[in-house]
């Protein structure tokens, strides 16, 4: 039997769903993203759980490791993402509903990309051998980078 007990939650959930619908319309028509700060709302935990349940699960779930763990999950409504950010002690510091094609935090930042590009040549076998890194790796039994051959 289907459990409809979540329908007992108050009108706050319906109001939030209508707000999400409005943000989705703006995304579709103008390409503008929107965010709702769930932790900042005076919602009882039961309402948050009810809203999360109604939005459901989508196709994408991403785990992010940056200054603590984060879970970024697309809900059953494409373009609507449920995001939880925890700090390094595992404490929940932000819970967001993001209405966007791809959450901003998933995109690589240009400054990080530039630094990564600068590091890349140092990862070639030639560079590693030049630094004696392969010898050190073998001595520790840690294996070695895959040879291109």
């Amino acid at each position: 039997m289907t459990d409809f007990s979540f329908l007992a939650d108050d009108a706050l959930v319906d109001a939030l769903i209508m707000e999400i619908a409005g943000l989705l319309r703006r995304l579709i028509e103008h390409g503008e993203a929107g965010i709702i700060d769930v932790l900042g709302l005076p919602l009882p935990p039961s309402c948050v759980a009810s809203l999360e349940q109604r939005l459901g699960h989508g196709e994408v779930t991403v785990r992010l490791d940056a200054a603590g763990a984060s879970e970024i999950r697309e809900t059953g409504i494409p373009g609507v993402w449920w995001t939880r950010h925890s700090n390094e002690q595992g404490r929940l510091v932000a819970m967001l509903i993001e209405v966007t094609f791809v959450p901003e935090i998933l995109k690589a930042n240009i400054a990080d990309v530039v630094r990564g590009a600068e590091r890349l040549p140092a990862l070639t076998n030639v560079a590693l051998r030049a630094r004696g890194a392969d010898v050190a790796l073998r001595a520790r039994g840690a294996g070695r980078p895959h040879d291109a051959s």
């Binding site: 700060d37 900042g40 400054a111 990080d112």
Partner: protein, 370 residues
């Protein structure tokens, strides 16, 4: 060690943090500061470009509890990196220098950052008899505050003593203790009261200042509205018991064991503005009410003289707490209105002192005291 001229973005990269960590930190801070979440990318970008800001910290008539709690607020996290991003150029308890070398450090920091440094104060300032009751290097707190505040960008009054005079000001106030705002009138002041204050509030104020170049929105008592806009009662997990009229009558009765509201045991949560119930203490572990003790109202002015800690707001001799009815007069449906009314920081005298409907006024302290 951070290089003086490098930006926070450069420092984070050097420490192995990517920009995602900074964006995530900004998301958490915007939530904490009640800013729109869409501001987070702007805050992250501003933080990445920001450089160190000098902070001069003067300790006056105090117990060092404020400094202790702030120092123990975090393990190595991005928050701490933000704190590394300020240059704490003078703090007598922490700095290695002493005597004339310390005084020279203070003069150099003031000269090098004239008009730009933040001045943090913990402790009240005794003004009676020319301020002779608290001296540093032979100089009165009063004299030091006057000189160092003159060239500060803003003044942060950390803890209830610095904000309102605190415990040194308690009756009969033998040293004539006052808070910073009683003496400094021509500088922006942020009061971060609490005995001690919640450390995350200081980091929030600093991050706001570093990223936007201005102080966060304040209430009429110069407190950051994002953290002091509601009462402990507004956000207390025991609030539903209050609304149901379920009150512990002593610290070890059945109601207390079931986590019922501590209003009748003297909890000052309904009239105390602070973020303890939401940010909590010790890395988000708990707060006093969660440990079974009522709020003592330590972040409110003159809390020490406002009546017994174990006297109910609804009656007894707690005459200093006249706003008991702010929340007490409303039920569950009125919770939001109560939160709004307290956010505006209505003067204590304006609120009615009526008890909750289901609670008989208590005229005597509970018989069970810890």
């Amino acid at each position: 060690m951070m290089h003086h001229k490098e930006t926070l973005g450069t420092m984070l990269a050097r420490c192995g943090f990517g920009r995602r960590g900074l964006l995530k930190f900004a998301i958490a801070m915007t939530s904490s500061l009640a800013l729109p979440p869409s501001v987070a990318p702007v805050m992250a970008a501003n933080l990445a470009k920001a450089k160190r800001r000098s902070v001069i910290w003067l300790s006056f008539q105090e117990c060092t509890g404020c400094l202790e709690t702030l120092l123990r607020s975090s393990s190595p996290t991005i928050d701490q990196l933000i704190f590394d991003f300020i240059s704490l150029d003078y703090q007598e308890s922490l700095m290695a220098a002493a005597g004339s070398a310390a005084e020279q450090t203070l003069r150099e920091a003031m000269a090098a950052n004239k008009g730009e440094y933040l001045l943090a104060i913990d402790g009240s300032i005794p003004v009676k008899d020319g301020g002779v009751y608290s001296l540093t290097g032979g100089r009165s707190n009063l004299s030091m505050l006057e000189e160092v505040a003159a060239d500060a960008k803003a003044v942060l009054a950390i803890g209830t003593c610095a904000a309102y005079g605190g415990i040194p000001k308690a009756y009969p106030n033998p040293t004539g203790a006052v808070g910073v705002e009683d003496l400094v009138s021509n500088k922006p002041i942020v009061n971060i009261p609490g005995c001690p204050p919640v450390p995350e509030v200081l980091s929030g104020v600093l991050v706001h200042f570093i990223s936007f170049g201005r102080l966060p929105e304040l209430d009429d008592r110069k407190r950051p509205l994002a953290y002091f806009g509601t009462t402990i009662h507004d956000q207390c997990y025991r609030r539903p018991f209050y609304d149901q009229g379920k009150f512990a009558k002593s610290f070890d009765d059945d109601g207390a064991r079931q986590g019922w509201c501590l209003f009748e045991l003297g909890c000052k949560g309904p009239v105390t503005h602070n973020a303890c119930a939401s940010l909590k203490w010790n890395g988000g572990t708990s707060f006093p009410i969660e440990a079974g003790h009522g709020c003592i109202g330590c972040s409110e002015p003159d809390f020490w003289d406002a009546g017994g800690f174990y006297t109910s707001l609804a009656g007894g001799s707690a005459t200093g707490w006249k706003s008991a009815g702010i929340a007490a007069a409303v039920g569950l449906a009125g919770g939001a209105a109560a939160a709004l009314s307290t956010r505006i920081a209505t003067p204590l005298e304006d609120a009615p002192a009526s008890p909750p409907e289901k609670t008989p006024p208590e005229k005597t302290p509970p018989d069970k005291l810890p």
